[in-house]
Symmetry: C2
Subunit: 433 residues, 2 copies
């Protein structure tokens, strides 16, 4: 039986789009042997036609308006334009309405419009695949929706933004401060000129929101994701973390306990003995905790032309060989409606950094304030301030406590007569035994 | 549209079989929402009907002869009997002939009869799924066949046997010797009374042989896998490894270079900076290097009732929701016929441990013998023998060399007048930058 060609149109011929074309050109036979069909690029479209590209696009039909690809004879549209609205949204919507499969790497779009687009795909009996939108080349969507299908997921967390991980790794390796490393990362192309999407935690939060929806079978709700970036992490925090046996990473965590979901992206202290602590540079890693399988860890390149394109082409291959999985792994009408915890409901350990007057009785005073909120101290380190002779730095690691209690205690410390600057804290990752 | 029940029969109601029943009972609704069908256990069979089990099997139809399940009205047969021949083989063969899907956790069976069974499944348009047979709960078959479908695989390697990894981790942590740790592992149930299948490397070799066939699209050929166990690794080797910045693990490696495959299971020294070095205890990890995605690392529980059953049920769910992937990812008639390298063709670094006379000129003599074979020394450490006053221990790390040359040099050293006991070496894992 000879199957007819599987027709693909690609919107966005930038980094990822060129990577997809490169794979479809160079590994054509390999992919055809797996899918049983030739993957044929029938049309392409992008903002700029004539610019330097590392693949030959002259052999493909060029369409000026990307949205028009939805009216082509393609079976599947690849969307790598980017942006949470605009052309990317219009194209995906129209393509699904026209009963064309869509493969996208666009987490911002899905974090905003994913529920509606998923329903649209389902109503039109086509696939909306998005492996490339989370953790680049790591097949995490496939692992969650299919490989761990037997399991209810308790928690999913990981390093979801390579830029932040690169910056924090460099700060740790070199003892350098945030702004110097950010500048270097921008020069190397690892960070954007306007870096907020990455360093503010928003890119990781888009991905984490999608992971949470997949893991717990709930609608995508970005507004429920608490987001804190890495901008306030100092080289001192990183040095102190090492002294206590931790490193600092930007972690996205979603967990579901007693039908209450918490989803957040924040800097976290991680015990150096944990495998995730060893993931440096621009690598991503995702840890999934299932009720039967236990802990599965997936690590790989979280970005880059070839790795991201690898995930896009895997999605195309799946559809070409007839694998259809609903967006959330289950039909949209089977979704759970659970409630969400506030960040203040978090229970865990904390690192606290204080600058206080260097005089007798201060530690006792601080300990008393913490104790009033039921917070007990696991470790404490006091040292003279390097620059201010009458100040001391106080680093405290707490036992497990409610974040709300911690905030009350820190507020009282902040308004006490011994405190010098606003107290600063970092959450410590809770590791399951 | 209401799909009819998907009927499953289970052969082998031991550890894994009970795990499968437990998941299908406890997560029934969750799985049905994903597959769109109720998974119904229509019959079970095992050697012993009445024994203590952690699930209630009284509700299922009991069949005395497992092979008879192939004649039941099940759509799919789960085989967890084990053994490379006998009942497991008979059942799988007959089930596929009767156009029933088969899900198995049996690597020994597949390493021996996989080619024939894969062809049989294909000819009968049914699936033969085997996720649980490699690295327990880790979805490595899915990652390879689907998640990395865009890539040609250059190399796949990892820790594939939890028993060996447990023993080597304990030897390293406690400075204990092989036999003491093996005995403890046997008492704890981590090693069999007859441990050769595990410690001799054969279990890992079964899995590695399957991975190589999947990665390089070649027939399964266990006879081409070079196998060396961990029995000769001493606590001294492990101590010396640490001094040079390595740990020792049993590693299965398959690579394909210029259409020549090498596949082997041997103890390897691994730089402590590599993520795989941190995988201790009974965990498994698999690293796949693809031409586009780069390096993907999957880590998780390699054995155990729940983790293995999780993989079996994921295979069942895939088939129930209509995902059909040929055994090798491609049709059997698309398979490549490549040639195999001998272990002596290996090029890499080596750790050599010698016991020599403690007198002037010995190091020069050894270095000359190595040099004659074109082997250059990267590091060397000489120390007095703890027990024999006239002997010295010589530890050498070589630069990259051909194994054949190393063997010639070691043979000459062994027959030289300064050598005391047979030289001993360990391969050093080649890490891609």
């Amino acid at each position: 039986m000879i199957e007819k060609n599987f027709k693909v149109a690609i919107a966005g011929i930038g980094t990822v789009g060129c990577g997809v074309i490169s794979i479809l050109q160079n590994n054509a036979q390999h992919i055809q042997q797996q899918t049983g069909r030739k993957i044929e690029i029938v049309a392409i479209s992008s903002r700029t036609k004539n610019r330097e590209r590392n693949v030959d696009i002259s052999v493909y039909q060029w369409i000026d308006n990307p949205v028009e690809l939805a009216n082509s004879d393609a079976d599947l549209i690849v969307e790598t334009i980017g942006g949470e609205d605009g052309i990317a949204y219009e194209l995906c919507k129209k393509a699904l309405e026209n009963k064309k499969h869509v493969v996208t790497a666009n987490k911002a779009l899905l974090a905003k419009h994913g529920n509606m687009l998923a329903k649209l795909a389902e109503d039109n009996n086509v696939s909306l695949n998005f492996e490339a939108s989370i953790a680049g080349g790591i097949p995490i969507v496939k692992a969650l929706r299919e490989g761990m299908a037997a399991n209810k997921i308790n928690r999913i967390y990981g390093i979801l933004n390579g830029t932040c991980n690169y910056i924090l790794t460099k700060m740790s390796d070199l003892g350098a401060n945030y702004f110097d490393v950010l500048k270097e990362a921008q020069q190397l192309g690892y960070a954007e000129a306007e870096p907020t999407l990455d360093v503010g935690g928003f890119d990781a939060a888009h991905k984490l929101t999608l992971l949470a929806a997949l893991a717990f079978n709930t609608p995508i709700d970005f507004s429920k994701t608490y987001v804190e970036g890495i901008q306030k992490i100092t080289s001192d925090d990183i040095k102190n973390a090492k002294l206590f046996g931790f490193c600092i990473k930007l972690i996205g965590i979603a967990q579901c306990k007693n039908s209450i979901i918490s989803q957040r992206v924040t800097p976290c202290m991680i015990p150096l003995s944990e495998p995730i602590a060893a993931i440096g540079g621009v690598m991503n890693t995702v840890i999934v905790e299932g009720d039967y399988v236990g802990r599965i860890i997936l690590t790989g390149p979280g970005a880059g032309q070839n790795a991201t394109a690898s995930a896009v082409v895997a999605d195309i291959a799946d559809i070409a060989r007839g694998i259809f999985i609903p967006f959330f792994g289950k039909q949209a009408n089977d979704m759970a409606t659970l409630s969400y915890a506030s960040i203040e409901d978090r229970v865990g350990r904390y690192y606290i950094s204080l600058e206080v007057e260097d005089k007798a009785g201060v530690l006792a005073q601080i300990a008393t304030i913490l104790s009033k909120q039921g917070i007990s101290i696991e470790s404490v380190m006091q040292k003279a301030h390097e620059e201010k002779p009458d100040s001391a730095r106080l680093i405290i690691i707490t036992h497990e406590t409610l974040e709300k209690s911690l905030l009350k205690a820190l507020d009282e410390i902040n308004h006490s007569n011994v405190n010098k600057i606003e107290p600063h804290f970092v959450r410590i990752l809770t590791v399951k035994k």
